[in-house]
């Protein structure tokens, strides 16, 4: 995102200092603020973020994964699997995440995959879902990433087990 912003800045003839760098600092500060707003019990929780039915998950190396890392939670999908791997549903059962995120375009109620109904996160209601608008904000890498971090952080604070 940062590189694309820089290129855009150059293309539009805006000096980077006033254009892309400033915007990136704003995003950065927004994400930082979101991370600081989190209550301490959220720290180090294991999370799983599903972006699409399949299940396609957001890995550590994706931009969503980077935001999650900044928020101080641990992604159950390691970077070695690539940004958005298609997982075996069994992987999630074995990973036992504390909190699960289902982006709206995942198009599934949690527990619709076989075996997931027994997951502690599903039984305890530690599942975040987003409205279509919020899903839009979260699923697109761009200037609204700070807002996305805020949405994710809010849900983490609400739904995370204490």
């Amino acid at each position: 995102v940062r590189r694309v912003l820089g290129t855009l800045s150059d293309l539009l003839g805006v000096p980077r200092a006033q254009g892309s760098d400033r915007l990136w600092r704003e995003i950065d500060a927004g994400v930082m603020a979101a991370a600081q707003s989190l209550p301490p019990y959220v720290h180090g929780k294991r999370v799983y973020f599903e972006v699409s039915r399949g299940p396609y998950a957001a890995g550590e190396s994706s931009f969503i994964g980077e935001t999650l890392t900044r928020l101080g939670v641990r992604n159950v999908v390691p970077a070695s699997l690539g940004p958005f791997p298609r997982l075996n549903p069994e992987f999630v059962v074995r990973a036992r995440p504390d909190v699960m995120f289902l982006a709206n375009r995942a198009m599934q109620a949690a527990g619709q995959y076989p075996g997931w109904a027994e997951l502690a996160a599903v039984r305890g209601g530690h599942v975040c879902t987003f409205s279509a608008e919020a899903g839009d904000v979260i699923a697109r890498p761009g200037p609204r990433m700070a807002e996305a971090a805020r949405l994710i952080a809010q849900c983490l604070a609400d739904k995370s087990p204490r």
Binding site: G54, P89, E90
Partner: protein, 329 residues
């Protein structure tokens, strides 16, 4: 002689399927893991019981349904290229799935409603509507050629509508493509129960109606002159075909090639009348899809390959080899 060969083949196919079932229980997101090692771990037990077992069994059942439907379709249309999706059910199911996914993004109310029906329900409804549409266009089942054409037309038109929806809401493209390639990862016990029931009914239907298929192999006029009640039995065959395909497609998406390849594989191994061919094709289809499912989750675990790609590679590769061998002889 042939009857003994087909019994041997059936036994071999069942034995292989059982071996795959045992293997399927052991293969998961961590690759191969022995059952014995998992014995004490409750999570592992739950994984085996709730995920791996129904998944392997479900893949076999779906493959069996497709293989059976393929044998019926090839007999009914007297066309070796016929496959279960010929009556438009594939594009109907894809359209249903696309509609469901698109509706999900529209409004929370629609999303809630769709969550209850599910992609599965929508796909089955789509397949059913497509087959009915085909029958309507062909004005019944009496003309094989007309039925064939109507099926192709319905398939093309519904496919176009599906593409239109996919373009209009580009968000669903990834999920839709996943559905089109077929997936066995979503099969639970309820899906297995459903497919087992449908398979039992369709096997019985196929067995009872096999004389018609044998008759049709000699041509429609000969079949009629043999005293077979063609109209009624043809309608029943179409019902078997549609039901088997619809059930499999709704649960697993559009899995390529199993329905086309299974009857050919059986025919290449034994020459047999349709009563046995239908049964053997079901066994062969089940074996093919169960093997593909196993490889889909094994090869790049914990990630998954689309199972439809594997069925095409496996079945296609074997058929090519058979053709090559026969050509060389």
């Amino acid at each position: 002689m042939t009857s003994r060969r087909s019994i041997w083949l059936a036994a071999a196919l069942i034995a292989l399927a059982l071996a795959l079932l045992a293997l399927g229980v052991c293969v998961g997101s961590t690759g191969f893991g022995s059952l014995l090692a998992l014995h004490e771990d409750p999570v592992a037990r739950q994984i085996v019981w709730d995920i791996r077992l129904p998944r392997t069994l479900g893949a076999w059942l779906a493959g069996a349904l497709l293989g059976l439907a393929g044998a019926v379709a090839q007999g009914l249309f007297r066309n070796p290229l016929a496959d279960p999706y010929l009556l438009g059910s594939a594009s109907g199911a894809a359209l249903g799935g696309a509609l469901a996914m698109a509706a999900f993004g529209v409004s929370p109310a629609a999303a809630q409603w769709m969550a209850r029906v599910g992609i599965t329900g929508a796909a089955f409804a789509g397949a059913a509507v497509a087959v009915l549409l085909t029958l309507l266009l062909a004005r019944g089942v009496q003309h094989g050629l007309r039925l064939l054409l109507a099926g192709v037309i319905v398939g093309v038109v519904l496919g176009a509508v599906k593409d239109l929806i996919a373009i209009a809401s580009a968000d669903i493209l990834q999920a839709l493509q996943g559905f089109m390639l077929g997936t066995t990862g979503l099969l639970g016990w309820s899906a297995c129960g459903l497919m087992a029931g449908v398979l039992a009914a369709c096997l019985l239907g196929g067995w009872l109606l096999a004389p018609v298929l044998d008759g049709l192999a000699l041509g429609e006029d000969t079949a009629a002159s043999l005293g077979l009640p063609l109209p009624a039995m043809r309608a029943a065959l179409v019902a078997v075909l549609a039901l088997a395909t619809g059930a499999a497609v709704a649960q697993t998406g559009l899995i390529a090639f199993v329905g086309l390849a299974a009857p050919h594989l059986v025919r290449s191994l034994v020459k047999t009348p349709h009563a046995r061919l239908v049964l053997l094709s079901a066994l062969m289809g089940g074996l093919l899809l169960a093997a593909a499912d196993l490889l889909a989750r094994w090869l790049i675990a914990p990630q998954e390959l689309p199972v439809g790609v594997l069925t095409a590679v496996l079945g296609g590769g074997y058929l090519l080899w058979l053709m090559h061998r026969r050509g060389a002889r």
